[in-house]
Every structure is written in structure tokens, then in C-alpha cells.
């Protein structure tokens, strides 16, 4: 009797043990995401969260990442720092995720940088600010192109157009301020004088006053740096106040909705952007063409909504992570992190990623094209 009990207990333990071992071998990949799905940054966070959910569903339908199921936990931070901190801790300590995708905004990303570093969790930020990966933190990566690349692209285009005296307006968000700082820093290098530099509130809806102020400085061009509706109000206000100089915007303008909202006033706006928006206009042999058209088609069919570069950031983050997991052959955080750092020539929506221990963004200036608006559509500048 007693012998049988011992045998039974032993048998059960053995079964459980092997089941556990088997489970560990093909354990699901747990990915957390902290995104501003609602709130003031929702126009960034919502496409990110939709894209991520879409990609995870796709992956699970086709056998997961390297044979592992993917479990995705999306937390809506509403763009506020304290929620991002709370959710990140929850994801790391409670849900024990392998990596955090996001946050959406620079401010939130900076709040998490120290925490994920200390807790050795991978974070792939979808925010643009340079400070996220400069100085480089071991566990922190980011996918959007650098602000400085965008500023350089704008300035070299201006040089070609013979523009040397400009006005700068930027929103008071992290994105606007990051861009403004780069514009101010790089101006001397390109021989450009910033005659007037203004910051406006993200929710502002009339800019005729500030445009009057900048116009009074006799500038040859205006640069606006924001991700807010201001991007389509400013061009209207410029036309209405007879401020007839070229308008340059940041890569935040990469959303056809802003062109629609600005209507005719959007014609001729020049801005640097990833190639997602002009996927159909790329030559057939362009390395990014297949990825871009694939994502664009799937997203637009699924959500009946135009694709935006922000959703593309989540696409890239997931792509980088799943590529690294496949190459690492495990979901041990250190191994996956090392694999991300070794990523070479990975074609994403923002560009072609080449990470290294000193470069946690992995993109070059080549990731940008200068675009313009022609007949209500995005078009490659000068083509």
C-alpha cells in the first residue's frame, strides 16, 4: 500500500516535472506594450496598438515566433508618465514580460529608461527623442528615426533652395521640443539663421497671431515641428494671413489625415519622412517596397483607416524583437538583447536597421526621404 502511494506520488511528480520541462522549452513569448491608446497622444498610440495586435494575431495564426505562441499585453498609459511607470512595473514584475514595446511618447520613455535598465528588461521605444538612446543604455532601443536626421534633411533641402533665414515654431510636447533643439543646434553648421523661434501649446487652434510675429522677421521659410492638429492649421493660417514662404514640417506630418484637414493649403509643404507613405511610388526594386506595401495593405484593409508612420514604429519594434528571438533561439532576456544588438540589414517600415552596442537606433539619414504634397497626395520631392 505504502509502496504504491510512493510510486504514485513519484509518477505524478515525474509527469509534472517533464510537463514543466516541455512547457519551458516552448513557453510562450510574453510581450508587454505601454502605449498612449487614448488621451492627447492617441493619434500616435492608437495605430501603434492596432498594429501590434494585428501582428501578434498574424504570428499566432502562422505558428508563433520560432514555434512559440505570443502573448501580448497592451496597457493604455494615456500618455501620462506616472501611469507608464506603474504599468511598466506591473508588466515586468507581475506579468514577467520579455520585452516592453513603447512607450509612445518621449517623456514616458525617459521615465522608464532607468527602471528597465535596473531590471534588465528589453524596451523598444516608439518615441523619437534622441535622449532615449543617447547615452546608450544597455536594455533600451528605439525605432523611430532620429530628430537630428530630420533636421539635417530639412536644412540641406533649404540650402539647395537658397534659403538662409528661417522661422521655427514648435509645439510644447517632447516631440516638438526635441526637434526645435536639433534645429537650433544644427543651424550654424548649415549656415542658416533662425530669426524667430516660438513654442505653442499642443491644443492651440489659431496661429494667426504668432505667424504675424514670425512674418514680421522677414524669414524665407517656416519650419513647424509637432505631431498635433497644428500641422494642418498652420498652413491654412499662413495662406489666410498672406504669409507666402515655403513651409517645412517634421516627420510628424506623416499622416494623410493632416493633408486632408489642411485641404488646398497643404499643397507644397515639404517634410522628411520614412517611405511608408510613398510605398506605391517607390521603384519596384527598392529594398523596402515589399515590406511597406504589405503592411500598408493589411492595415488599411483591416482597420479601414489610412496607415501612418506611427503604426509603422510598432511594426518595426515587433519585427526587431521577433527577428532577435528567432536568431537567439531562446527567450532568455540577455540572449535576445544581444541578438537585437547584432541585428543587421533588417528591413522595417522606418528604414533598414543595423544595430550595434553603440547604436541603439540602428537607422541612418538614408531612412528619410524628402516628401511634398501634390494634388492632395504625398509625393517624393523633386520627382
Amino acid at each position: 500500500m505504502r509502496g504504491r502511494t510512493i510510486f504514485l506520488v513519484g509518477f505524478v511528480l515525474a509527469v509534472l516535472g517533464s510537463a514543466a520541462a516541455w512547457a519551458a522549452d516552448t513557453a510562450a513569448v510574453r510581450i508587454g506594450a505601454v502605449l498612449a491608446v487614448t488621451g492627447p497622444a492617441a493619434n500616435l498610440g492608437l495605430p501603434e496598438s492596432r498594429t501590434l495586435q494585428m501582428l501578434v494575431d498574424d504570428a499566432n495564426r502562422t505558428g508563433g515566433i520560432a514555434g512559440r505562441k505570443v502573448e501580448l499585453i497592451i496597457k493604455d498609459s494615456q500618455g501620462s508618465a506616472e501611469k507608464a511607470v506603474s504599468f511598466a512595473k506591473q508588466l515586468v514584475e507581475e506579468e514577467r514580460v520579455l520585452a516592453i514595446i513603447g512607450p509612445t511618447t518621449s517623456g514616458e520613455s525617459m521615465k522608464l529608461k532607468g527602471y528597465v535598465e535596473e531590471n534588465e528588461t528589453i524596451m523598444i521605444s516608439c518615441a523619437a527623442a534622441e535622449a532615449i538612446v543617447n547615452p546608450v543604455a544597455k536594455w533600451v532601443f528605439k525605432v523611430p528615426q532620429m530628430d537630428s536626421f530630420a533636421a539635417r534633411m530639412i536644412y540641406s533641402t533649404m540650402k539647395r533652395m537658397g534659403i538662409s533665414r528661417v522661422g521655427v515654431v514648435a509645439s510644447n510636447t517632447g516631440f516638438g521640443q526635441g526637434g526645435k533643439a536639433q534645429l537650433e543646434k544644427l543651424a550654424p553648421e548649415y549656415g542658416i539663421t533662425i530669426a524667430s523661434s516660438e513654442v505653442y501649446d499642443a491644443s492651440a487652434s489659431d496661429f494667426t497671431g504668432v505667424l504675424t510675429k514670425v512674418k514680421g522677421q522677414g524669414v524665407q521659410a517656416l519650419v513647424n515641428w509637432s505631431v498635433e492638429p497644428a500641422q494642418s492649421i498652420i498652413p491654412k493660417n499662413m495662406k489666410q494671413t498672406g504669409f507666402d514662404v515655403p513651409l517645412f514640417q517634421s516627420h510628424g506630418f506623416g499622416n494623410i489625415r493632416y493633408v486632408e484637414a489642411a485641404g488646398k493649403a497643404a499643397e507644397g509643404i515639404i517634410f522628411p519622412c520614412g517611405r511608408l507613405l510613398v510605398a506605391d511610388k517607390l521603384p519596384a526594386d527598392h529594398p523596402q517596397k515589399r515590406v511597406l506595401e504589405g503592411y500598408k495593405k493589411e492595415y488599411e484593409e483591416k482597420f479601414k483607416d489610412e496607415v501612418s508612420t506611427f503604426g509603422g514604429h510598432a511594426y518595426d519594434a515587433f519585427l526587431i524583437l521577433s527577428d532577435a528571438i528567432t536568431r537567439a533561439g531562446s527567450i532568455e532576456p540577455g540572449a535576445v538583447r544581444d541578438a537585437i544588438e547584432q541585428t543587421r540589414g533588417l528591413v522595417g517600415t522606418a528604414g533598414i536597421f543595423n544595430f550595434s552596442p553603440t547604436d541603439h537606433n540602428g537607422l541612418t539619414m538614408d531612412a528619410f526621404e524628402m516628401l511634398t504634397v501634390r494634388n492632395g497626395q504625398f509625393a517624393l520631392l523633386g520627382k
Binding site: 491608446v37 487614448t38 493604455d76 508618465a81 506603474s86 507581475e94 511618447t105 529608461k113 527602471y115 510644447n172
Partner: protein, 317 residues
């Protein structure tokens, strides 16, 4: 049993409950809950202060997130600018108190809609100044705020190793805040405040210095908020402009209203639970909607708070 002993029973129970929580959670291997429990303690401090002001003195403040962020941002600037590190929290509290004093003198002369509007405008101004000032990090806020070292290894910090002591620390502060508030409410001044809430002219006629009492409780509630802001800035290692938003001020009002206005225990309970759930993302995409619905629902059906409603409907008392 004497009355004072009877009064102390809930406090003792509260303290015992607080002491047991980390032990129970660690036995259940769920000590990750401590992070959000600690955060909700700090936000509950704001609600307690506002409860004194709104519930007992009858003065509405739609701008308490302003005082919270004045405390938080002051502490954050001092802690990250290389000034003596012990200064950050006291300076945060002092700044909130000072500004409450300066703003309170003129603003508290107003009543009703005008007071609501003036405090709302105050909160709006604070939020706009934060968003417009590079020193305060504008929309990015301030990051990399170091731990705040108290005595002997005790520190306000979000580090995983310090989770348990931070839980005790935060709830101990709430406990002290609660006891202080209860004593105030029971004191002569507390009776004066209730008289002011009932009818200011009558209170003044019976010899109460209305302006001084209102100002004092306004400053006290700002101290609660400023302390909470300063401590949570250290606990989170950062602070963002979202803390100063109008929605945050509205939330504090919602917590006090749901708690039953002049009900410190109610405010404490509602705030601890709802803030905890919100910080865990329990309401998903409907976080703001939940608080909106709460405000409307409570004010329509249970203006004296959820607990009174439960007592009346369920217990029939």
C-alpha cells in the same frame, strides 16, 4: 468603553490591516501589488486634504492637481539640480503651502461658481506654466529623480528591493494624515469649519474668523497635496505634466465626492481602491469615462457618498 477608545478601534484596525498586507502578499507571492498600493497611498493623501477643504469647510477646489504638481516639480528640480538632497521634499511642501497661502487670500473670498472657476483657472495656469517652462521639462517632465534618503537606510524610492518599506512608509504617512485630519475635525476649529460650510454669514456673526479658518484649511490641504506630489516624484523617479492636468483635479474631486464629502474614512476607502485599480489599468480604455460616470452617478443617486447609500439601502439604517 469610553468614546475615545471606541473611536480608536477603526484606526487600530486600519493600522493592523496595513501592517498585514505586505506579509499576506508575500505569502501569496503577489508582492508586485505593493507598487500600485504605495502609489495609491500617496494619491489618497491628496484626497484626504481635499476632503477637509471640500467636505468639512465646504470650499470647492478644482485645482488641487496644481498643488500636487507644485510639490512634485519643486522636489524634482531640487533633487536633479544638485542642490542638497534632503531639501527636496520639505521644499516641495513649503512651495505648495506658500502658493496656497498667496492664492488663497484673494481666491477664498469667492463663493460658488466663482470659487470653482478661480481654482480651476489656477490649476490650468500651473499646468500651462509647467508645459511652457524648459526648466520643468515642458511636455516631457523631469526624469531620473534619485531616491529620497530618510534615516538609516530608509528611502523613498521605486526600487524593487525597497518595495515593502516604501509601502509602510507611504501608508504610515496616510495614517498620520488621517489622524491629524480627524483631530482637526473634532476640534474647535473643526466645528468652526462646519459652521462656515453651513452659512458663512452666520458663522461670522457668531464670532468665527471666517477668512482665517478658510485660508488655514486651504493651506493645510495644499500641504497634503504637495507632500504627496514630492514623495511620488521620488517614488516614480520622475514626474510628468499629466499630473497637473484638469482631469487629475477632477479625479480628486470625484474621489472625495464618492467618499461622501465630509467623510474621511469614505474618502480614504474610495481613493485607495479606485486609484489602485486605475493605476493597474483595470479600466482599460475607459479610465476617464469611469471617473466621469462615477461623478455623475454619485452626485445624482448618492450625493452623500457610496457608503451612506450602502448603509441606507442594504443595511436599512
Amino acid at each position: 468603553m469610553s468614546r475615545s477608545a471606541a473611536r480608536n478601534i477603526p484606526l487600530l484596525a486600519f493600522a493592523a490591516l496595513g501592517a498585514c498586507v505586505p506579509v499576506a502578499l508575500s505569502a501569496l507571492k503577489a508582492d508586485f501589488y505593493l507598487t500600485q498600493l504605495t502609489m495609491s497611498a500617496w494619491y489618497t493623501m491628496v484626497a484626504l486634504g481635499l476632503c477637509l477643504l471640500m467636505g468639512y469647510a465646504g470650499q470647492v477646489s478644482m485645482g488641487h492637481a496644481g498643488f500636487f504638481s507644485i510639490g512634485g516639480y519643486t522636489a524634482a528640480v531640487i533633487a536633479t539640480a544638485g542642490m542638497p538632497s534632503w531639501l527636496s521634499v520639505p521644499a516641495g511642501v513649503a512651495a505648495a503651502a506658500l502658493i496656497a497661502f498667496l492664492v488663497g487670500i484673494p481666491v477664498l473670498r469667492l463663493k460658488g461658481h466663482y470659487l470653482a472657476m478661480a481654482t480651476l483657472a489656477f490649476g490650468f495656469i500651473v499646468s500651462r506654466i509647467i508645459l511652457g517652462t524648459p526648466l520643468l521639462g515642458q511636455a516631457d517632465g523631469i526624469s531620473d529623480i534619485p531616491a529620497y534618503h530618510l534615516v538609516a537606510g530608509l528611502a523613498i524610492s521605486g526600487r524593487r528591493a525597497l518595495r515593502v518599506q516604501n509601502f509602510y512608509l507611504a501608508w504610515a504617512v496616510v495614517f498620520v494624515g488621517l489622524v491629524a485630519a480627524m483631530n482637526l475635525v473634532r476640534s474647535r476649529s473643526g466645528r468652526a469649519l462646519r459652521a462656515i460650510r453651513g452659512d458663512e454669514d452666520a458663522a461670522a456673526a457668531s464670532g468665527i474668523d471666517v477668512a482665517r479658518h478658510k485660508l488655514a484649511v486651504f493651506v493645510l490641504s495644499a500641504v497634503y497635496a504637495g507632500l504627496a506630489g514630492a514623495c511620488i516624484a521620488h517614488f516614480n523617479g520622475g514626474i510628468g505634466p499629466g499630473e497637473a492636468g484638469i482631469m487629475k483635479s477632477v479625479r480628486y474631486v470625484a474621489l472625495v465626492a464618492a467618499g461622501g464629502m465630509a467623510n474621511l474614512w469614505g474618502t480614504l476607502g474610495v481613493s485607495a481602491v479606485l486609484t489602485f485599480l486605475s493605476l493597474r489599468g483595470a479600466f482599460g480604455l475607459y479610465d476617464d469615462a469611469v471617473f466621469g460616470a462615477l461623478l455623475v452617478g454619485i452626485m445624482l443617486f448618492a450625493p452623500s457618498g457610496v457608503f451612506t447609500l450602502i448603509r441606507k439601502r442594504v443595511l436599512g439604517r
